[in-house]
């Protein structure tokens, strides 16, 4: 059941990314490019996605997940260095290629060699991340 629901969610996520146009890097970079020919699409995608998601969060108060267990606890509202440094690094890469992890995976099947190279580098980055975090901690302790 858990895997079937995950497959359905993943499929819907991929279809949504495709329909929204977020697999087209020109639309993503067009939204980030406020000094160029600005493209508002991404704002509609983010706004649209938050509507069902906000309803879902509201529904978590009175029930349990279908497969059992608990809903994810609200994280401590702690804004550490990792959140900021990581988000800035991610944003730089996102602007550079116009790809973030979801759309990169959704276009993996038809994006050709370029998408494959990006995803390969992204996976390598994810593998390196714990080491990068450690060396950051060594240079300047987090808190």
């Amino acid at each position: 059941m858990r895997n079937i629901l995950a497959l359905i969610a993943g499929s819907l996520f991929g279809i949504g990314l495709l329909v929204s146009g977020m697999t087209d890097t020109a639309k993503v970079q067009g939204w980030l490019d406020v000094f160029g020919n600005w493209d508002p699409t991404l704002a509609f995608v983010m706004g649209g996605a938050m509507i069902p998601m906000a309803i879902a969060w509201a529904m978590t108060g009175s029930r349990k997940p279908i497969v059992g267990g608990e809903f994810p606890a609200r994280p401590e509202p702690k804004l550490g260095r990792n959140l900021i440094v990581g988000s800035v690094m991610f944003g730089m890469g996102w602007g550079l290629a116009g790809l973030c992890p979801g759309p990169a995976m959704a276009s993996l099947g038809f994006g050709g060699f370029s998408t494959l190279v990006f995803v390969g580098a992204m996976l390598a980055g994810m593998l390196l991340a714990p080491m990068v975090r450690q060396s950051m901690d060594k240079a300047v302790p987090a808190e």
């Binding site: 995950a6 980030l32 509609f44 944003g91 050709g112």
Partner: protein, 141 residues
């Protein structure tokens, strides 16, 4: 061009339903970088099957749709150095920040998470800066 925002809104709503299914069904936050990263670094070993199922749907469903609807334009650069640099930044950055556009952005902001909102402000600002720097100043993209 004019109707692109309608596709954006419809696609966004589908993405939101996907996140709602994953949350209400499995009790999990639909964050692409977390789902992938947990498989890559082994931290999500106990939920590997669920993660692989999600990613199978994420990769295969769009591939099925484009057989009937030619929406394969990615406009992705063929500059290998840019792709590798961007991929590394996205991979390292999302794992250090513990989230990306889907986890911090869609799922975080919709529950009014301070961390999600702050992360989103910073990656959007950095993304805008990145486009200004690499497109308008350096001219590499």
């Amino acid at each position: 061009m004019q109707i692109d925002w309608i596709y954006g809104l419809i696609g966004g709503l589908i993405i939101g339903v996907a996140g709602a299914v994953f949350l209400l069904g499995n009790g999990r936050i639909m964050g692409a970088s977390g789902i992938i990263g947990g498989l890559v670094d082994g931290s999500g070993r106990n939920t590997a099957a669920e993660r692989i199922s999600f990613l199978a749907g994420l990769i295969i469903a769009p591939l099925v749709i484009v057989q009937f609807w030619d929406r394969t334009t990615t406009n992705v650069t063929s500059n290998i150095a840019v792709l590798i640099a961007a991929g590394l930044l996205v991979g390292i950055g999302t794992r250090i920040a513990n989230g990306c556009t889907s986890g911090h952005g869609v799922c975080g902001i919709s529950r009014l998470s301070l961390r999600g909102m702050v992360a989103t402000v910073f990656y959007i600002l950095a993304g805008g800066l990145s486009v200004v720097l690499f497109r308008h100043i350096l001219g590499v993209i």
